[in-house]
Symmetry: C2
Subunit: 338 residues, 2 copies
């Protein structure tokens, strides 16, 4: 089967690799119908994170089950399935507490930008869609594998409530998904911080009531103007840089929560914007499986269309172009069809 392998900075290749097989009785093998490139894949693509040896890459997928191990009971060959970017057993103490991303028996993947993948912990990771989704719905189901669930996690971590005023820092696929999540959770006002017209358009479409293009002190000023001088009730940090974390904390009103989901590259957390202002910070990798049944239901009923974050669709053999387009910001997020 064909699989994407990263060899080093800006060196992405589609290669022939052995078909994955059932190893544990809790495994499934899934034939991917769609997969995609994640902003976090770009850390290695850009040479910021190391690639010590050629490595299969990708952690988002939807597909059809090909085979299951003897202990798998909730999905069967032929089912159309989606799973999160980490596997989880959905039975351990941490999964029971809703912390599936930190499952005691959780694992990652051996490269999902491929035709076939092995999914460990199949019962605790995959869920089958009610039926085979039609073509137009596939991107939205795929988005649940990571970005939409991650944006949702930001909103949940930030404690977005009906009536909340929310700021979203970051207009990548996760930030846009965060806008959608905040709107779905009943936010009265969603302020998207974005400088790009195309992304602003999607943010509006997802429920943003206001756009703030300014950053830094000016960005904080604009947020204050829009929030009666006090800041937002909830802030979603969807970038992960030091500046964006500071931007998020400073956009919060005293007593507010910041939900952070951007993989942090923060020198040190600015306590001066936290303790004395009673501003909290919570988040991390999203417990996708915890949110998946609800999110799939919202997609299935047509309440949300998170697949709109994919503004580029390519065949899998054009995967290198997908990376290049995202790296050069020609695309928000690239979908790949095996």
């Amino acid at each position: 089967m064909r699989s994407t392998v990263i060899h080093g900075a800006r060196d992405i290749r589609l290669e022939d690799r052995p078909d994955p097989a059932i190893i544990a009785s809790t495994d499934a093998v899934v034939r991917t119908v769609a997969t995609c490139v994640c902003g976090s894949d770009l850390w290695r693509y850009r040479g910021i994170a190391d690639v010590p040896r050629p490595t299969p890459i990708g952690h988002e997928y939807v597909g059809v089950v090909e085979a299951v191990g003897g202990d798998v009971t909730t999905v069967k060959p032929g089912d159309f399935v989606v799973g999160g970017f980490l596997t989880s057993d959905n039975t351990c103490a941490l999964c029971k507490a809703g912390a599936h991303a930190n499952c005691l028996n959780g694992t990652g993947y051996d490269g999902c930008q491929a035709e076939l993948i092995r999914v460990q912990n199949a019962d605790g990771t995959l869920i089958a869609t009610p039926d085979e989704p039609d073509e137009t719905m596939v991107p939205s189901v795929l988005a649940l594998s990571d970005v939409m669930a991650t944006g949702w996690h930001a909103a949940v971590s930030a404690d977005v409530q009906p009536g909340s005023t929310v700021v979203v820092v970051g207009d990548g696929a996760v930030g846009l998904s965060g806008v959608l999540a905040a709107a779905q959770l009943g936010a009265e006002r969603v302020i998207a911080m974005s400088r790009h017209a195309d992304r602003q358009r999607i943010a509006r479409d997802f429920g943003a009531s206001d756009i703030v293009a300014e950053r830094g002190d000016e960005g904080v000023e604009r947020v204050k103007e829009l929030t009666g001088g006090v800041g937002a009730d909830a802030v979603l940090e969807c970038v992960g840089t030091h500046d964006s974390v500071v931007q998020a904390l400073r956009s919060a009103r005293p007593g507010a929560m910041v939900g952070w989901v951007g993989v942090p590259h923060v020198t040190d957390l600015p306590q001066e914007h936290m303790f004395w202002k009673n501003v909290g910070l919570r988040g991390g990798p999203a417990p996708v499986r915890a949110y998946l049944p609800d999110l799939l239901d919202r997609v299935w009923k047509g309440h949300i269309e998170p697949g709109k974050v994919f503004d580029l669709a390519l065949a899998l053999d054009q995967v290198a172009e997908g990376y290049a387009a995202m790296d050069e910001r020609r695309a928000i997020k690239a979908l790949l069809r095996p």
Copy 2:
């Protein structure tokens, strides 16, 4: 009137100062019935925080209203009252959001370890007790002015829920109050980290189910043993040193919240115990007025007796001994009677 003035490290004097008067129409003047020394007062007493000039000190009190300004409507002369360690108007956008410690019009005090004090924002700060409390109840009402409300804030910030397993780091008056708060909020298990027999006794009395005397790696190990290997659902950080914040974060299970209320003296926040573990951190100065009606009700009905944290009662003219006893850890918390 007599008032406590700090002149510098270990230099506490009771001095004659002018009686406070109504200045703004929203002021009250209160004759204190009891006041006390706070752990945070010790920062200056120990010379860690600066004392640039002789300064009246103290921020906890109960007393009887002597006079009110023309716009005060909720308390009147003769009322027995308690107020928080900061004043709040209880009407601004932040008070409406429950963030009274960050009230847009909030103030501090000009020294509450005194016979008379001026309370700004009287309507938004003071509440009158249903009746004059009897002698034995006075310490418990006084405790609501800071430590009990602060322990409560730690528990609320840590999102303690019915059935939660909770760790409390710190066995000072705030930590012990945190134990009581966690138990009141329905925690199934409250693990108090304490090395002192007298404090362990109060912790047990307040609802601690387990005591962990170890600290550092050993303390984390003990907590893990008591929590099925995963850590606590909620952790209350009631000290504020770097080590205690790290202890708190490491005692939390993935997905848990740490409520921090110890004034932080933290070099930098250890992100490695936060993001990847999905452990959140929230807290700051307590919004006392937000909690006061409920807490006073619990004291009045005899459900809680937070005044047990006072293990030393002195006349106001022995205030210097109160500081010394707390500094030398001969007392948990010193109550002063004018």
